[in-house]
Amino acid sequence: MKSDVGQAEDWPTSTFTLNDAPVEKNLSEHGMVIVGAGHAGARAAEALRKNGWSGKLTIVESEDAMPYERPPLSKAVLSGTNSFEKYPILVDGFFAANGIEHIRDTTALSIDRNSHLIELSNGAELPYHRLLLAPGAEPRRLNVIGSDLGKISFLRSASDANRLASWLQESAKVVIVGGGLIGLEAAASAIARKCDVTVVELANRLMNRAVPEKIALAAKLRHEKEGVCFKLGCAVKEINGVNNVSSLRLSTGEILECDVVLISVGVEPRVSLAQAAGLDIDNGIAVDKYLRTSDVSIYSAGDACSFADEASGERIRLECWKNAEDQAYVVAKNMLGGEQIYSTSPWMWSDQYESTIQIAGFPARGPFITERVCLDGSLLLFHMTETGHIAGVSGFGSLREVGRGVRFGQLMIQRMLTPGVGDLCDYTVDLRSLIVPAVVA
């Protein structure tokens, strides 16, 4: 067991204020416990301190690393530009300086809800007053013969990224199974390392779940220009090799020779700990609008947390940076007795080559698409409802045009504006001018 813990007298308690959160001090010796030091867990630890919790705070993590940002793993880390240590979530020494015990390389094995105790893999028992489950998600496996051969990897953790990066030698034949965001970012990184890249995707289009079709098509063309080969509508039937992988057999009968395989076919929420403790599970660890599970002392946030979508009522999970970030702040307030309702404003990005994809809001709820082609060729799509409101905005192209366009789109969504279609599709009309009237009002 490794532990990074600071002395209580180190923390700047005088700067903590108990603003809107009535903290129940009599239970404070039990402390707050967070399972998972990924984005949601680490940020929630920070937010608990910032919101006035000066009692015991422990964060348990199965990986043996300080909390790091995951988005760079498929980009800067895989392409060899930077190591993952360059992307910490918290400033150096944060846990020690704030009296947070960070128990790493240790797994939470079970929760005794009656006694408010967690059993850890190091043999210790940890009492909790409030518990946050932020276990994240794990890569979905490919159940085919040969998937346990060498030089086949997932891409989820820093150690996955480092291992995979070491295999991406020049001219290596790399097959990426799964044409989602992670698979395509990895494809761009492998191209940067001069590998020979093929992407195999079960659906007939790329990024089927997260990205509007037109944006996905533009991205596909960009990848093809770099030499990426796509096998769409194909399943992997078998993986062959002696020790390491040497070929894949596809559902079309085609044999793809390869040196390295990345399996990126999505993730599954880690629910086993919550499930064994008898908490409600429904497409993830089920929470209410306050991010509270079916046990009032236990909360959940991040990739594993399933919440009711306000519009459809369906239980959804959002596996992205923004969701983990936003939920962490809300859950910290509520663990301290607050009643903040979590409301989603989805936003995600993906960097592939010098191009960026950004998506905000709910494009699928806006069937009427208005397209703006910017002067530099960047594509912006405004996904509009029958009433002319913007449900979502998406873009592919330069950071400048896509970043700004999507941001203006987000403002239109928030302010429930109904901009004219003619103005939206005309690149000579400044998008800022379309939100100004609401600012004045």
Binding site: R43, E325, W349, D351, S398, L399, R400, V402, G403, R404
Partner: protein, 107 residues
């Protein structure tokens, strides 16, 4: 600030829309030149302190700029990082407007 620092002309004020930002390259460096809605001018480094992106491609609202890559926000008057993933301050420079030209003090 030193007496020896030189004021260099960056751009004409009327080339810079209100509540917006413009990139200015000088020597081997890029600077971001901001103009507020009430006509004040501020200058910062142009490269985001989080990951490589030009802040001048970002989104200006009031006195903040949001990086176009990962939406880290900065107060461009002070350079202060306002929200994750940005956590390090952007370097700022003194700026002034004379006869319709924006000058930047480079030490």
């Amino acid at each position: 600030m030193t007496d020896t620092a030189t004021w260099v002309a960056a751009c004409k004020l009327n080339e810079l829309p209100k509540e917006d930002v413009k990139r200015w390259d000088h020597g081997s460096k890029s600077f971001a030149v901001f103009r507020t809605a009430d006509d004040r001018v501020f200058v910062t480094d142009d490269i985001c302190t989080h990951e490589y992106a030009h802040i001048s491609d970002g989104f200006v609202m009031g006195t903040t700029v949001e990086c176009p890559r990962h939406a880290g926000c900065f107060d461009f008057r002070t350079g202060e990082a306002l929200n994750p993933p940005a956590c390090n301050r952007l370097k700022t420079y003194s700026a002034k407007v004379e006869n319709g030209t924006v000058f930047v003090q480079i030490g």
